[in-house]
């Protein structure tokens, strides 16, 4: 057999094979086990250890590209927070087009299911330009001023009961949960908010950022970490509330297997051509 040809498989054939490998388990789930990592457990415990009725700052700093990975995390954190009767102040500082709308959609669906009311139990403050460092700096002492006094739809904050209780991150917020894909990232939240105030910071990010965040996790500055869709699936499993994260795990595992097989085949082709040369 001419092994060298393995290097030159038409990339469109690979796309179709990967597509099939992702689609088949969606139609016929295999039910592969999902083990829970230490980092996910730490996120769960950071929120679980809060007293009932605490205030959690949830910043869904995502754009359209990474939303499928991070959205399930927002549903899951909202579920855990509302179970403990915690209040949520939500923002979205990465992308004005989809960030605030996705934040609203994913928290609202859980809130409706659990009987929580907008403006009383949670609020979506939306996006602001140049969040880091300007807005983050202002949020510490005056949320109303930082967010120009309006929520994500331009409604005045004064009319919402939750904003009468929560005036500043310094005095009124107990934990910060951030999902991020860029700026502001954990470095910004840590530098300007969490570290100066001594507030626990946790959350999740796209797996593209996983390696670059290790130093924050190791040093304990980040209390656990949800890594992409896999992290979201583990979190859903801990909450015993399967959602979009767990639904995608079979497809993801099979997709990885396909990528690994083609990596091996490509390398066989490469070494075969080197030997011949």
């Amino acid at each position: 057999m001419n092994w060298q040809k393995l290097q030159w498989i038409d990339v469109r054939i690979l796309y179709v094979i990967i597509l099939l490998c992702l689609l088949i388990p969606m139609f016929k789930p295999i039910g592969l086990p999902v083990s829970i990592s230490e980092n996910t457990r730490k996120v769960f415990e950071a929120i679980e250890s809060l007293p009932d009725g605490s205030v959690i700052w949830v910043s869904h700093d995502t754009g359209p590209g990474n939303a499928p990975e991070l959205n399930p995390m927002i549903s899951a954190v909202a579920r855990q927070a509302f179970r403990k009767n915690c209040k949520i102040i939500a923002t979205s500082f990465f992308n004005e087009m989809v960030g605030p709308a996705l934040t609203q959609e994913y928290i609202e669906s859980v809130a409706k299911e659990m009987g929580k009311e907008y403006g009383v139990d949670w609020i979506n403050l939306g996006y602001r330009v140049n969040a880091s460092p300007a807005i983050l700096q202002l949020l510490i002492d005056d949320i109303n001023k930082a967010m120009s006094g309006v929520d994500w739809k331009g409604e005045p904050l004064d009319k919402f009961p939750i904003m009468k209780e929560v005036k500043s991150i310094r005095n009124d917020v107990d934990l910060i949960f951030v999902t991020t894909v860029g700026t502001p990232g954990y470095g910004d939240w840590m530098t300007y908010v969490a570290e100066p105030l001594g507030k626990p910071l946790t959350g999740g990010a796209s797996l593209t950022m996983y390696s670059g965040l290790q130093q924050y996790i190791r040093s304990g500055q980040l209390k656990g970490f949800l890594g992409g869709l896999r992290g979201a699936a583990e979190y859903e499993q801990l909450l015993k509330a399967p959602g979009k994260g767990l639904a995608g795990m079979d497809a993801q595992s099979l997709g990885h297997l396909t990528v690994i097989i083609f990596l091996i085949l490509g390398n066989i082709g490469y070494f075969a051509s080197r030997k011949k040369a």
């Binding site: 992702l22 990975e69 087009m97 996006y127 602001r128 330009v129 570290e195 500055q221």
Partner: protein, 202 residues
């Protein structure tokens, strides 16, 4: 049909148009989807910024509450548009100077404690395999980046070589994570098509 269903159908059509790039590279369908995205993002961005940022500052803070001092930062910000006037481009540098000066100064004022915590974390007991590997990788990676020292012999030569391999392992891990993330994104799009729009998947 509900607004949500229309949204899902539109999303599905846009996903397929964008994916047409995989089959035929840059083509009219792909370009059309790209232009829709850019146009909507720009229009939405302008409207959103006006509604949630500029309008409250101008109408509420300035006109209603009389905080006219806000005009000073507003003027400094507007100066950046001097880029568009030939001969006056230098004025835009004032805005950049304020922005960078404040950003750098503020970051430096706050950063050392955050950064030092990570440095202290590398002072660990060598009582487990993981800790020994961690220690070796930190030291040898630093050796690799010591560009002003001679590294053609002795401990620095082998240390920096080991550091380079350690860095390659880290890049490999990062690349693996990126592949994993992209698969998650495809799964998200497939869920929109087959679950939310076509209702073929439970």
């Amino acid at each position: 049909m509900t607004l949500e269903q229309w949204g899902n159908i539109t999303a599905t059509i846009c996903i397929i148009m964008a994916w047409s790039y995989l089959y035929k590279g840059e083509n009219p369908l792909y370009t059309f989807a790209e232009h829709i995205l850019v146009a909507i993002a720009t229009a939405y961005g302008i409207a959103y910024t006006w509604e949630t940022q500029l309008k409250p500052r101008v109408m509420t803070d300035m006109v209603k509450n009389g905080k006219w001092s806000l005009l000073i930062p507003a003027i400094i910000g507007i100066l950046i548009y001097a880029w568009f006037f030939k001969g006056y481009e230098w004025i835009a540098r004032l805005t950049m100077a304020f922005w960078i000066g404040h950003g750098a100064g503020y970051a430096l004022a706050f950063n050392p404690p955050v950064f030092l915590k990570q440095v202290f974390d590398s002072f660990i007991r060598l009582n487990s395999f993981n800790n020994i590997v961690y220690f070796l990788v930190v030291i040898t990676a630093l050796m690799y980046f010591a560009f002003t020292l001679r590294k053609d012999r002795g401990i620095l030569k082998y240390g920096s070589q080991f550091g380079r391999y350690a860095l390659m392992v880290a890049f490999g891990s990062a690349y693996g994570s990126i592949t994993m993330a992209y698969l998650s994104l495809i799964i998200g799009q497939l869920q929109i098509i087959f679950k939310d729009t076509l209702h073929l998947v439970k």
